[in-house]
C-alpha cells in the first residue's frame, strides 16, 4: 500500500505540525497531550466547543477549529478515539467561564473516553455538557446495539453550534441546538474502495473492481451490504431514499444537503451525485435551501461518498449562515 508519509508512527504528529505551520493566525497546536485550540482561546464568556475523534477523517475535526466553529479538537491515532488526558487539557484550555460542550460521535470508544474526560473536568469545576451524534441510517437502531454511528451531521452540528456560541448563547441553549441538529439530520454512506490504516499497511477490507459497499462507516469498517456497482443515479437514490424515509422528510421541508467525499473521490463525481440528489428531493417536494459539497469527513483514501440531509428551521439556517473562519470552512468573514 503506497502512502505519502515519513513513517506510520509519525503521521499524525507530522500532519499536526503541518497544520500549525499553515494556519498560525487561526489555530494553535499543542503536543503531549495533543490538541488543537483556536488562536486566542479561551474566549471569555463564550461557550467552548470541543470535539475530537480518531485521525484519518481530515479535515474533521482539526480543520474546523477557529472563529464560528470549534474552540478545540483532540486528534486520536488513526481511526482511534483520543484519550481523556487530551480532552481534559483541551477542555481546560477553552473554558472561558461559560462552560464547554463536548461533541462526540457515537462510537463506543469515543463515548467512553469523553465520558471519563467529562467526569474529570467536572471534578475540576468546569461545567461540561455533551451531545452525541448518531445520524447514520445504515445502522439498525435498537436498545440492544451500540446504536447508530455519528457521521456527516457532526460537521453541520459543529458549524451551527459554533455560530450559536459565537452569538453568545449560554451552554444550555447551545446544547439544545446541538440536540436539535442531531435530531433533524440523517446520513448514509457508500464506498467504492477500502482504505489502509498507515500502521496496518494494507487495506482494511477487500472489494472487487465491480463491487461497492453500501452503508459504510467512516473507518473502513465493512457496511451492511456488498453489491454490484451501479450508476451514480441509482446509488444516490438508494442512499437518499433511506435517509428521506427515516426522519421522515416531508413535502414542503427545507433542507441542507451535504454531499461528502470519503477522501478518494474527485469533486466532479460529488457534483454528479448532487445533481441526482437535487432531482430526487425535487420529486419528493423537499427543497434544498443550503448545500455543502466536498471532502469534509473522510475515511483516509477511501473512494465513495455520504449524503446528509438536515431539516432546517429559521434558527438553524441563521447559525449555518453565520460567519465562519477555520482552516477548512470559511465564509462571511
Amino acid at each position: 500500500m503506497k502512502k505519502l508519509i515519513n513513517s506510520p508512527e509519525t503521521v499524525v504528529g507530522d500532519a499536526l505540525l503541518g497544520m500549525a505551520a499553515a494556519h498560525p493566525e487561526l489555530i494553535q497546536v499543542h503536543f503531549d497531550p495533543d490538541y488543537i485550540t483556536r488562536a486566542g482561546a479561551p474566549v471569555r464568556g463564550k461557550v467552548g466547543l470541543l470535539s475530537g475523534g480518531g485521525s484519518g477523517h481530515e479535515p474533521m475535526h482539526g480543520g474546523f477549529v477557529g472563529y464560528g466553529m470549534l474552540d478545540a479538537a483532540c486528534p486520536g491515532a488513526v481511526f482511534t478515539s483520543p484519550v481523556p488526558d487530551q480532552m481534559l487539557a483541551a477542555t481546560k484550555a477553552i473554558d472561558g467561564g461559560a462552560g464547554v460542550l463536548h461533541i462526540v460521535k457515537n462510537y463506543t470508544g469515543d463515548v467512553m473516553n469523553f465520558e471519563m474526560a467529562a467526569e474529570l473536568a467536572q471534578m475540576e469545576g468546569i461545567e461540561v455538557a455533551s451531545v452525541i451524534t448518531n445520524d447514520d441510517v445504515a445502522v439498525k437502531d435498537s436498545l440492544y446495539t451500540a446504536g447508530r454511528r455519528g457521521v456527516g451531521v457532526t460537521v453541520l452540528l459543529e458549524k451551527i453550534c459554533g455560530g450559536a456560541a459565537e452569538a453568545g448563547l449560554p451552554l444550555a441553549e447551545v446544547t439544545r441546538i446541538a440536540q436539535n441538529v442531531n435530531a433533524q439530520g440523517r446520513s448514509m454512506g457508500m464506498a467504492l474502495t477500502s482504505c489502509a490504516v498507515p500502521a496496518a499497511g494494507k487495506p482494511t477490507f477487500e472489494i472487487g473492481d465491480d463491487e461497492m459497499e453500501i452503508g459504510i462507516g467512516i473507518h473502513g469498517e465493512p457496511g451492511r451490504q456488498r453489491m454490484k456497482l451501479q450508476s451514480a443515479r441509482e446509488i444516490t437514490e438508494m442512499l437518499a431514499s433511506a435517509i428521506l424515509d427515516d426522519l421522515p422528510f416531508n413535502r414542503g421541508d427545507q433542507v441542507l444537503a451535504f454531499v461528502n467525499g470519503m477522501g478518494g473521490t474527485p469533486l466532479i463525481e460529488l457534483y454528479v451525485v448532487y445533481n441526482d440528489l437535487v432531482k430526487l428531493c425535487g420529486d419528493r417536494g423537499v427543497t434544498i435551501s443550503r448545500n455543502l459539497i466536498g471532502n469534509y469527513i473522510t475515511s483516509l483514501e477511501m473512494a465513495g461518498c455520504s449524503i446528509t440531509l438536515l431539516k432546517l428551521d429559521d434558527e438553524l439556517t441563521r447559525f449555518w449562515d453565520a460567519p465562519v473562519h477555520t482552516p477548512a470552512l470559511r465564509w462571511g468573514r
Partner: protein
C-alpha cells in the same frame, strides 16, 4: 500460594511482549468486524506501560496496577483503553497497599476488574465482547476452588473456560462496540477483544504456574 509484586511486574511485562507478538493477529481479527486497530492500540499502550514500570518496581501491587491502568487509559484510545484501563484500576483498588496476595485475593481482584469493564462498557455476557472470555473464566476458577483442587489445576480449568468463552463469540451477533454496526455480518468472526482478553488470561496463568508452591 504467595503472589508478589515481582510476579505482578513479570505478568505485565509478559503481556506487553505477547501483545507485541500477536499485534498483527489481533489487528487482523479487528479488520473483519471492526476498524483494524486493536493490536496496534494495545501494543502502543503496553509499550508505554513497559516504559513506566521501572518507576514503580519497588512499590506496592496496588500502585503497580494503578499505574498500568492509568497509562492504558492515557495511551490506548478506542474502547479498549477505557475498558482495560478501568479493569487494572479496579484490580488496583482490590489490592491497594499489598506487597503479596493469595488465590482468594486473586479472585476478588479479577471480579473487581470484570465489574469495572461491565460498568464502563455497559455490557453483559453474550454480546460478543471481552466479557465472554473473562466472566466464564472467573466462574470456572471459583467452581474449581470450591471443589478444593490445587491452585494450578484450578487456573488450568479457568483458562480452558476462557478459551471456550473466546470461541463462543464466533457465532454470536455483536450488540456492543463497533462490530454491532455490522448486524448479522458480525456472525462467524471471533471477537478481537475476547481474543486479547484470552491472551492476557494465558499470561496470568503462566505467571502463577511459574510460582513454586510453598513447602508443606
Amino acid at each position: 500460594m504467595r503472589i508478589t509484586a515481582e510476579h505482578v511486574i513479570r505478568f505485565i511485562e509478559t503481556i506487553a511482549a505477547r501483545v507485541k507478538e500477536q499485534r498483527a493477529y489481533l489487528t487482523e481479527l479487528d479488520s473483519a468486524i471492526g476498524d483494524a486497530d486493536h493490536g496496534i492500540n494495545l501494543d502502543r499502550g503496553f509499550s508505554a506501560v513497559l516504559a513506566k514500570l521501572p518507576t514503580v518496581a519497588d512499590k506496592d501491587i496496588g500502585t503497580i496496577l494503578k499505574t498500568t491502568g492509568m497509562t492504558l487509559v492515557s495511551t490506548v484510545g478506542g474502547a479498549s483503553g477505557p475498558l482495560y484501563g478501568t479493569a487494572f484500576l479496579r484490580a488496583s483498588m482490590a489490592l491497594a497497599d499489598r506487597y503479596e496476595f493469595n488465590e482468594d485475593d486473586l479472585v476478588a481482584a479479577l471480579e473487581a476488574a470484570l465489574e469495572g469493564i461491565m460498568m464502563r462498557g455497559k455490557a453483559q455476557r453474550g454480546e460478543k465482547t471481552m466479557i465472554d472470555t473473562i466472566a466464564p473464566a472467573i466462574d470456572a476458577l471459583k467452581t474449581a476452588r470450591s471443589r478444593d483442587v490445587d491452585a494450578h489445576a484450578a487456573l488450568r480449568e479457568s483458562l480452558a473456560a476462557a478459551e471456550a468463552g473466546m470461541k463462543s463469540t464466533i457465532p454470536m451477533l455483536a450488540t456492543k462496540g463497533r462490530a454491532s454496526y455490522l448486524g448479522e455480518r458480525s456472525i462467524g468472526h471471533q471477537d478481537p477483544g475476547a481474543t486479547s482478553a484470552y491472551l492476557i488470561a494465558t499470561v496470568l496463568v503462566e505467571t502463577v504456574e511459574s510460582i513454586q508452591p510453598e513447602a508443606g
